[in-house]
């Protein structure tokens, strides 16, 4: 009787898992910084969103 109950719960859990929609591509992925394309675009965005601009000057070599 007890084994039957455990089996029933296990079956329900398996079926529930099978019926769940697959995770979207965004789920589980690490968020990345979205860099603006250029300073002029950043200035426009900054004024519209009232946010400061972070300029990261880097050496590509």
């Amino acid at each position: 009787m007890r084994i039957n109950s455990v089996l029933m719960v296990a079956v329900v859990l398996v079926v529930q898992t099978m019926l769940m929609p697959p995770p979207t591509s965004a789920e589980g992925q690490e968020q990345k910084i979205k860099w603006a394309d250029n300073f002029d675009q950043a200035l426009s965005l900054a004024q519209a969103q009232k946010k400061p601009i972070l300029l990261d000057f880097f050496n590509p070599n």
Binding site: E30, Q31, K32, A36, A46, K51, P52, I53, L55, F58
Partner: protein, 150 residues
């Protein structure tokens, strides 16, 4: 920065929520305009294009967020938005008390409070707090004259 700092999720979240981020190669005209001589150089610019904060050299994730918070606080301070500056300085001091930005944040929180009500006791309280928590900081020395305010 690419390998360690920017992939950090706390850094990513902070930048996404608070800033418009732009990457600029050091051989671009904008680097000359901002007189960048070494990389990495991070410059915080207000929406009008005026520089308000700069850091030269690598910053690990634990340092970048308080550095940027401090910069945003300074931006508000420079614009005279003292009430908006204080929460940024307060967050640096309370959430990152071990960071090198923390004593500077406490100092400028005191400056912002003084600017709001012209009461020098704000600066005395600032000095007392700095002396108690960061006795060896250069910001404690800078606040020292206010320790004798009656």
């Amino acid at each position: 920065m690419d390998a360690v700092t920017y992939p950090n999720q706390a850094v990513t979240q902070f930048v996404q929520n608070n800033l418009i981020a732009v990457r600029v190669r050091n051989d671009q005209p904008l680097a000359d305009l901002f007189k960048v001589k070494w990389t990495p150089t991070l410059v915080l610019v207000d929406p009008e294009g005026k520089e308000v904060y700069r850091n030269v050299g690598f910053l690990p994730p634990d340092n970048l967020v308080p550095a940027l918070m401090l910069g945003i606080g300074k931006l508000e301070l420079q614009h005279g938005n003292y009430d908006k500056a204080i929460p940024h300085f307060d967050r640096v001091a309370s959430k990152f008390p071990q960071s090198e930005e923390a004593p500077e944040a406490i100092y400028f929180m005191g400056v912002s409070r003084f600017k709001m009500n012209s009461d020098l006791k704000m600066m005395k309280e600032t000095y007392n707090r700095l002396e108690a928590t960061y006795p060896n900081s250069s910001w404690t020395r800078k606040a020292q004259p206010y320790g004798s305010v009656k």
